[in-house]
Symmetry: C2
Subunit: 155 residues, 2 copies
DNA sequence: ACACGCTTGACAATTTGTACCATCTGCAAT
DNA sequence: ATTGCAGATGGTACAAATTGTCAAGCGTGT
């Protein structure tokens, strides 16, 4: 029950709603729709991708709202901004600790769930008073598709 | 001799120049200036911050050139794009493996050099054929300045 | 059902990143 | 040292991404 990511759709919505109430945020249709759209996806959409997703279902949504709500979701802790070398903000509805493989050629991001990476000894007291609350590892390299097409330059 | 990050300015420039030659790239004043500006900084500037840095010294530089050269530096392996949850591209002239502490409140990024984190067992064969070449850990939390001002909401 | 205040939508403004092309410059061959 | 060419730059224009503003709308507690 404490593991958000394993829960089914109904529970996820329940968690979202209770987090909203806890923070006295109104349960608007927009927030619901945006949270749904994000948490249903397995990939790591940009704000605009989420916007594209929902604008058919929710006619008249504003792009501004999508940006704003995604930000809210991150703030109340039901979504994350992910860390990859990409000039666009990307969001992740999977709150379970996990990591990412990012292809340096095509930019695709793959999830990596690996228990052995989830209990790193965070170096406390290292940087004058920084309080670490979470972490995520970004592996960079080449996905199989790009590996098979790349020609390494002869040195 | 194999450790780029510990070297002094003159060596860094030397490494930069030899990498350029190796890739048959012309040693232009712009490339030098941009590499200098980046590798002298301890933080993780955006492209525009680098541009602001050098446009006083190098009158007439184009913003386009800064974007272009930063990209080149990453390609030839003398700089990195860093992975933090930020919608702007950020660059790092420190090529030694290290990690980052990012404050979720103010967004400041601190370097974290910690040997014990530099030899993670990268889970091979995990994701159908992805070839891991490097990794970096992003710790998220609160810096000391923000910790002292934040009021935790009463639950 | 009512009123208050949080949210949204629409548009504008900014910021960030890319495309294009004429001009310039590093560099190697003379 | 001079020259010629390929690659690099500057600058404008453009596209994409994100943020600011504010009147109007909707969710919530009463």
């Amino acid at each position: 029950m404490s593991n958000v990511s394993d829960t089914k759709f109904e529970s996820r919505i329940g968690i979202f709603e209770s987090e909203c109430r806890k923070n006295s945020l109104a349960l608007t249709v927009q927030r619901r729709a945006i949270y749904d759209a994000l948490s249903c996806r397995k990939d790591h959409p940009t704000a605009d991708q989420v916007y594209e997703d929902i604008k058919s279902k929710l006619k008249g949504v504003s792009r501004t709202t999508v940006y704003r709500v995604l930000d809210t979701l991150v703030t109340i802790g039901v979504a994350k901004r992910i860390s990859i070398p990409d000039p666009k903000a990307r969001f992740d509805g999977d709150m379970q600790r996990h990591h990412h493989l990012t292809c340096m050629k095509c930019g695709t991001v793959f999830d990596l769930h690996d228990e052995s990476l989830n209990n790193l000894q965070a170096p406390l007291g290292n940087d004058n008073g920084f309080e670490i609350m979470d972490y995520s590892i970004t592996f960079t390299g080449l996905c199989s598709a790009c590996r098979s097409t790349i020609k390494y330059p002869a040195k």
